[in-house]
Symmetry: C2
Subunit: 260 residues, 2 copies
Amino acid sequence: MNALLFDMDGVLYEGERPIAGAVDSIAWCRAQAIPHLFLTNTTSRSRQALVDKLAILGLNVSAAEILSPPVAARSWLQQNISGPVALFVRKQTASEFNGLEIATPEATDVAAVVLGDLGEEWSFARYNRAFRLLMDNPDAVLIALGMTRFWRAEDGLRLDAGPFVRGLEYATGREAVVMGKPAVPFFKSALALLDARADETLMIGDDIRGDIGGAQQAGIKAVLVRSGKFRPADLEQGITPFALLDSVASLPAWWHQQGW
Amino acid sequence: MNALLFDMDGVLYEGERPIAGAVDSIAWCRAQAIPHLFLTNTTSRSRQALVDKLAILGLNVSAAEILSPPVAARSWLQQNISGPVALFVRKQTASEFNGLEIATPEATDVAAVVLGDLGEEWSFARYNRAFRLLMDNPDAVLIALGMTRFWRAEDGLRLDAGPFVRGLEYATGREAVVMGKPAVPFFKSALALLDARADETLMIGDDIRGDIGGAQQAGIKAVLVRSGKFRPADLEQGITPFALLDSVASLPAWWHQQGW
């Protein structure tokens, strides 16, 4: 093993408190100079906002160490696409795509359509424009910044990006490239950024499907921790983690035990 | 055989001209007093508008003989649901639901959500309201007035109801009851309206999937006509019609040949 991928929520912290030992495990990872990334499905806040939140919890993580769906999408686009990219994302997310050729609002021929959670900013005209751009160019790729179904806002449930992506997939007959766990392209982006091979990379997560199942689909071994959203019934879902640890605190000792 | 279901476009007429012999076949059906319905997936115009169009072509069909997705939905709702129904349909379609208890715009507890093609009338708030109504009542039924992907407007392609239905299905984890060919509930509504059994009803259509495949899924025998959108390759799609006729003009003679 030569690289590590960490889930954040439930592995490094739970709600507003850090997991005991998480600070030391991150420090160990850095001291060992193991290439690593922190993976999150969050698109509603920028990486810097995440960095600030973690700092308050005593977790010293830099923006460059965080892989979010927009960052993975940019990396994927840089490697796979040439041509203008149409963004259907919030303003704070758009900044993550700096450096790419962004399509003008009048463009009719784009190489990719990137779709995130737009909430109230969705109108029929805007949704239909994403549809037409895909229909106008049969080679245009639909990139989804996650497939989250909905989230709980103060005034009630709100549709996230997933339903809009699924609608466009149905309308166009095309399958989205999904960035965000458990989608394989997201894990592949992580490997590309670390320049690591799947079989020498280990994922640490608390979500049996999103973290463990997703990583395994990408050929990455994955360790489940008993913190965060872990429930014993998770082990009866037909997904077998490579190992089960009490928390990320046990990682350094267990890693050395493996002889890595 | 004791009942007949006719597709309209491609069976009775092609574009702006009636199929030769269609007028006589309809007259024969009436003279024989065979219970029958004309099935259409159209939701953008009312039944009366269809009646007027057919009259211009010399086809004498009454509104009561036409089964469209809104009419099938009302029939289905009357038989399966008690409680208020929330409509997400255009104004001209809403009138087809007269007689049902329609939910107020403030209602939070509805028995069913009916979703049609709203076009520019869609906003995030309106789409999210349909979602919340479904989430607020786990027993609420999602009724789709067809699953059409898109249609060609003067200024270009436009998303129809299908993508919005598919998005809500994904968001809620619930499956829509689809009214419109080839969905089985649509054919079942036709049988209910005619008070006919599936195995004594015959469908006539030009669409191998929408008409023939759909009817067969509902246990109804179906005859393919070589008019309208029929192409010889349709017979290589894995769907075998009960019989193949040159057009609806051949129906009366063929029907009597069967000894019905």
